[in-house]
């Protein structure tokens, strides 16, 4: 074993590594992302990646800081599906700030306390800047539909409701969103309210508008998300506008990207023989059995230990006897026929023999169905999943399944098979499948990632019931607040620190370096905004920086304005990206077009700072299991 001290107090190697690592994410910030090729020199394989998470995933990070970073990003991505790039970038930017602090001789304790305060300031800004989806819906959200919203009828309808709301916080907000869905979707509810509202298209696209502002450049992916949410709400019983857990993706290479679409139920790829069964079964009400496990004679449930050392003996020779598998097969097929099962969804694999046997009797066997899909069909058809086919009984079989052929992809290649769409009539319980297509195979992963990022952005927005001004506006306000705090310290050096003075224990001595740390933290955010601006391709590095600084100076001290005006600066870039020829001066452009997620941003910032703190406070690595003889040459190691 050995301990190696890595810190030379003013040149923290860990922080340097962190900030170097963050550089890789520079080009994947903002709506205009660049692809990267990652090539493995030993195997010659290469991957095309676009998001920060995928880059990290493909890199083999061996240093301990790298692993801590990857672990954080991976956890974040698993839960939030968006914001990883921002996380890593800010971790880098703030570790740079921490390094700078160390250079100036500021102690770790002071850095941590001031940065924590800075974080509090930023999180507060988020809370203050956040815009309730509710409010936006009525007045702000539909700037494109201003005329309709301003219509007197709509106002009469909406104002009283809006005024009720403050007393009923919570699910009310969500409720309203979806009520519009239903009202606009089902004119059959012929109350006055409904019919009046129905005539106003704008209420339906509420989700669509929220989604649009959250697309962050992935318009196509977001359109699919909106389609999925519309499809879900069509058959929605509960008041949930968008249930991300009931969305699955199906990736089909070889088709052009425009063919991407959303279908109700699930889509599976089956080989040609199965496709013929599907053809036979289409436009019928089908019975379904769900198997949780493999469909094979030899399959045993998880946790079953096969006995060892058992020999089979027999007292007579019976050649005509059927093998165990055949007996099983006969039993299963008879059972399936008795129960009139048409479709079997299997979470594991099915043996060749079973598939063939079922095919002859026009029973469609679908293998490798995801557990979530199985669950959704269990709910919507009333089927009960079983482990063994022999367990099936009348009440385990679900009804009302429908099968249709979505597209024949086989052409000459029989293996690629046919895409079969499995749905239930009536209630689908919200399960929708998004089909992502691309003729470039390497792009599929990125398309899928983008779709999920968009889907989760919408999901979090609906969960938060609030949005944050995007396109760098929130960051701008944060920078301003941080700088104001810092200046306050410089002006009143003796006074104990600014806003936080109430929170601090009365006797804690003031942090003399607070202004420096806060300013450096603000610089990190500035770097972030500038990078996003540069990535849009409109600004040069210098130009972006100048624009940001100029803007901050122009609106010095007026916090409210910085947001609105800055967004116009940014909108310019945004519209350029969208290739709509709008000039900067056009003042009639809608106020803010891009929004961010509240909870995601807050979590990302906190996690980025956590990483910095973890690394900043680390002064040594302890490496276990090192052989002194082989590693003795490394001079920076000390052996214990």
């Amino acid at each position: 074993m050995l301990g190696s001290t890595i810190i030379n107090h003013r040149q923290h190697v860990g922080l340097q590594k962190l900030s170097a690592l963050a550089e890789i994410t520079r080009s994947s910030l903002g709506p205009n992302k660049n692809y990267k090729f990652i090539q493995d020199d030993t195997t010659g394989e290469s991957t095309l990646v676009c998001s920060c998470f995928r880059i990290l995933e493909s890199l083999e990070l061996t240093c301990s800081v790298g692993q801590v970073v990857y672990e954080t990003i991976e956890t974040h991505h698993r839960v939030y599906n968006t914001g990883s790039g921002c996380l890593l970038f800010l971790a880098g930017a703030w570790s740079h700030a921490a390094l700078e602090c160390l250079h100036r001789g500021i102690s770790v304790r002071h850095i941590i306390s001031a940065m924590s305060e800075g974080m509090e300031i930023c999180l507060n800004v988020c809370r203050q800047c956040s815009i309730s989806i509710k409010r936006r819906e009525v007045s702000e959200l539909c700037p494109f539909n201003v005329s309709t919203v301003k219509d007197s009828h709509a106002h009469q309808q909406l104002t009283p409701r809006a005024s009720e709301r403050p007393f009923n916080l919570g699910p009310q907000k969500k409720l309203k969103l979806s009520r519009h869905f239903r009202e606009s979707e089902s004119p059959s509810i012929s109350t006055i309210h409904a019919s009046q509202l129905c005539s106003y298209e704008p209420f339906f696209p509420d989700i669509a508008h929220i989604a649009e502002t959250l697309s962050h450049g992935c318009t196509d992916a977001m359109n699919l998300v909106v389609k999925a949410s519309q499809m879900q709400s069509e058959c929605n019983q509960q008041d949930i506008a968008f249930d991300v857990t009931k969305v699955v993706t199906c990736v089909l290479p070889g088709l052009v990207e425009e063919q991407a679409t959303v279908l109700p139920g699930c889509v599976v790829l089956v080989p040609a023989e199965q496709a013929s069964v599907a053809h036979h079964l289409k436009e019928q009400h089908l019975k379904v059995a769900l198997i949780h496990g493999d469909l094979a004679a030899t399959y045993r449930h998880l946790g079953y230990n096969r006995p060892k050392g058992i020999q089979s003996v027999s007292d007579r020779l019976d050649l005509s006897r059927l093998s165990k598998e055949d007996t099983w097969m006969e039993k299963v097929v008879t059972l399936l026929l008795n129960l009139e099962v048409n479709v079997i969804l299997v979470s594991g694999v099915a043996s060749e023999k079973v598939i063939e046997c079922c095919w002859r009797r026009n029973i469609l066997v679908v293998e490798k169905v995801k557990a979530s899909i199985l669950k959704a069909f269990a709910v919507s058809t009333g089927a009960i999943p079983v482990t063994y086919a022999t367990q099936l009984s009348k009440h385990c079989v679900g009804t009302g399944l429908k099968v249709s052929i979505w597209r024949d992809l086989s052409n000459n290649d029989r293996k690629r098979g046919t895409a079969v769409n499995i749905t239930t009539d009536g209630l689908n319980c919200g399960l929708v499948t998004v089909i992502l297509t691309s003729s470039v195979h390497a792009k599929l992963q990125t398309l899928e990632d983008q779709f999920w990022a968009c889907a989760y952005r919408l999901h979090w927005a609906l969960k938060d019931k609030a949005l944050l001004p995007g396109a760098g506006v929130t960051e701008m306000v944060c920078i301003q607040h941080l700088q104001n705090e810092a200046e306050h310290d410089i002006r009143n050096p003796t006074e104990s620190n600014g806003v936080s003075s109430q929170q601090n224990k009365p006797r804690t001595p003031a942090n003399p370096y607070r202004d420096v740390v806060l300013t450096l933290m603000a610089d990190g955010l500035k770097d972030y905004i500038c990078t996003v601006m540069v990535n849009t391709g409109v600004f040069s590095k210098v130009g972006a920086r100048a624009a940001v600084i100029q803007h901050l100076q122009d609106y010095h001290g007026t916090v409210g304005d910085v947001a609105a005006k800055f967004s116009q600066l940014f909108l310019h870039t945004d519209t350029c990206y969208n290739a709509t020829p709008t000039s900067v001066e056009s003042s009639e452009t809608p106020a803010i077009k891009t929004y961010d997620n509240l909870c995601v941003k807050q979590e990302v910032w906190r996690k980025a700072l956590d990483l910095v703190f973890l690394v900043l406070q680390t002064d040594a690595e302890v490496i276990t299991g090192v052989d002194r003889k082989t590693n003795g040459a490394q001079e920076d190691l000390m052996f214990l």
Binding site: M1, G3, G14, S64, V65, Q67, V68, E71, T72, T75, H76, R78, V79, Y80, V108, R109, S116, H301, L302, G303, Y304, N305, R306, P307, G309, I310, Q311, S312, V313, S314, D315, I384, P385, V386, Y388, R507, T508, P509, P512, E603, R606, K607, D610, F613, L614, Q617, T618, D619, A620, E621, V622, I623, T624, G625, V626, R628, N631, M638, F639, L640
Partner: protein, 567 residues
């Protein structure tokens, strides 16, 4: 022809403490541990050299288990401290640092080893009796009528580990949860033998710390929540049966031998029949909750669910014990006999709780059960695993207060206070003590000085920012002076002492630690102070830590030879 491999002779190290290599390693270990000490301590990233998981920690239990050395002398000390940690879960760094400093001081003093040993032993006796005595000036009596001290105690433990990366409100939240969990595990009905319950910890990664919570009863991960019939869960008392035997339907271990089986015999279906028979009995006996530590055959599960019995499989051994305590049920270890009625237990109700992506089944106890579950959330795995260790440590520390309902003033104040007390006591009683121990008075005082300095350097180890460590000349508490403060404004910039109980005032006098100061008898803090103690240390584990440190140091001083078999 067999080859003769010549055995290499054993390596013998004479007087290990005089060996430069060993001394260097000891001082490296000391540096490493000192840098981890306290709330401002630095973290260590522990990983293996082939890219395994990285742990960021400053906790002695994690750190010391990773720090194995090629040198048996180092391992002797390490093992001794680890042993203390495994018993008390706290004060590991204190113990290790004190032990290593005592060795260093003994070497510096130039005293004969046996003199150092007897003086240390004598002084340890003085410390122990002072700390346990009535008029100990650095002890706080804990009052079970108020949770304030307990929260402070928990907060001190939790905030001493920076690798948890908690903000103050977060640390306070976790402290309160720890106290709440502790109180839930203390049984209320004191008929017969009281048995402390258990806190189970469930970690949820990726969610805010403030989402952490404590629930009475058990929370069991339910990946197959889908099978739960919500109607069966609510509002009624459930008859419960627990199986520790596997109900997977396989043959039990056969050993090495072979079994010959008739070709027609189907063991699987025979066992399954037996399982279903068992199922029938349970249903007849009115069981509503069927739990198995291991796997349950899917057919049996299907049968039970069909009879509206809630089924939980693969509970695992750790939860099994708690659940049997909670439900008052005897786990059934076989499926070959009828289940005796007294094996059945009872739970109040089942509810479903959602934590992030985890869906959990909450098993409510039907009465007082002293079992609770703590859900710990944190933003990433590294910090979460440290938080888990720290919470277990806190639980242990809180439990120790039941044995000895007091706490020591934390933040270094106990160490400096104790040092001042020992100094004073030694000088007053030098003649008697020296003759009692059979050493000269000079030797005795030299040994005592080394002992006191060791205590003080543990306090000074709390300061990592090269500030100055001070002690006041009335209560002998511990103070730090920021490095950049001019001495004239000392009383303004000192604020309060380490534990927060003494306030600086112009009349107060301070001295730098490890400088000579006139000895005095440290006064206890007057009861009338308006200040609240901010940092508390566990009494029991610190006392044990002190004993382990001195005894280990004495043992190490006593080692004459190290003989290593290198074959």
């Amino acid at each position: 022809m067999s080859r003769v491999v010549k055995k290499s002779p054993s390596v013998c190290t004479d007087l290990p403490l005089d060996n430069t290599d060993i001394c260097n390693k000891l001082s490296l270990l000391k540096q490493l541990l000192i840098s981890c000490f306290g709330p401002a301590g630095r973290l260590k990233q522990i990983h293996n050299n082939i890219g395994g998981r990285v742990i960021s920690t400053s906790t002695s239990s994690v750190l010391l288990s990773a720090l194995s050395s090629s040198q048996p002398f180092i391992n002797l000390i390490r093992t001794s401290v680890l042993n203390h940690v495994s018993r008390f879960n706290d004060c590991g760094l204190f113990t290790a640092i004190l032990c290593l400093t005592l060795l260093e001081q003994a070497k510096q003093s130039g005293l004969r080893r046996n003199v150092s040993i007897i003086v240390n032993k004598h002084l340890l006796g003085l410390c122990t009796s002072y700390l346990q005595g009535q008029n100990c000036g650095c002890k706080v009596k804990l009052d079970f009528c108020s949770s304030q001290y307990f929260i402070t105690l928990a907060f001190s433990v939790i905030s001493s580990k920076p690798a948890c990366v908690l903000t103050e409100p977060e640390a306070l939240h976790i402290s309160k949860l720890a106290v709440q969990a502790f109180l839930l595990t203390v049984p209320c009905n004191n008929t017969g033998v009281a048995r402390l319950g258990k806190t189970l910890t469930v970690c949820v990664e990726g969610h805010p710390v403030l989402d952490s919570a404590v629930f009475p009863g058990l929370l069991v991960d339910m990946p197959d929540i889908f099978f739960l019939n919500a109607e069966n869960l609510h509002g009624r008392s459930l008859c419960t049966v627990l199986f520790s035997a596997s109900l997977a339907g396989d043959l039990c271990e056969l050993g090495d031998g072979n079994i010959e089986l008739h070709g027609d015999a189907d063991t699987d279906s025979q066992i399954l029949d037996q399982l279903l028979e068992l199922g029938k009995q349970v249903v007849q006996d009115g069981v509503n909750l069927f739990v198995c530590q291991k796997v349950i055959h899917p057919v049996l599960q299907q049968y039970l669910r069909g009879q509206s019995v809630t089924v939980i499989e693969r509970l695992g051994i750790s939860l099994m014990e708690s659940l049997s305590q909670l439900a008052g049920a005897q786990p059934v270890a076989t499926l070959h006999t009828r289940i005796p009625p007294k094996a059945y237990g009872k739970v109040k109700e089942l509810t479903i709780k959602q934590f992030g992506s985890k869906t959990m089944l909450h098993i409510h106890p039907s009465g007082e059960s002293a079992i609770c579950t703590m859900i710990l959330c944190h933003r990433n795995d590294t910090m979460l695993s440290e938080l888990k260790v720290v919470c277990q440590k806190t639980e242990h520390v809180l439990r120790l207060t039941l044995r000895e309902p007091c706490a020591l003033m934390g933040g270094g104040c106990t160490e400096t206070h104790l040092a001042a007390y020992i100094r004073n006591k030694c000088i007053k009683e030098v003649i008697e003590s020296a003759s009692l121990l059979g050493c000269s008075q000079t030797e005795y005082l030299l040994g005592a000085e080394g002992f006191c300095r060791s205590l003080e350097s543990v306090a000074a180890a709390l300061d990592h920012k090269c500030g100055n460590s001070l002690t006041d000349l009335t209560h002998a508490h511990y103070w730090t002076l920021p490095a950049d403060v001019v001495e004239d404004h000392m009383e303004n910039s000192l604020g309060v002492c380490g534990c927060g109980l003494v306030e600086s005032c112009p009349s107060k006098k301070w001295t730098y630690l490890n400088t000579k100061y006139p000895e005095f008898s440290p006064a206890p803090v007057s009861k009338g102070t308006h200040l609240q103690v901010r940092v508390l240390d566990s009494f029991t584990s610190k006392l044990s830590g002190l004993q382990v440190a001195v005894e280990t140091a004495n043992l190490a001083l006593d080692v004459q030879y190290i003989i290593q078999d290198t074959n």
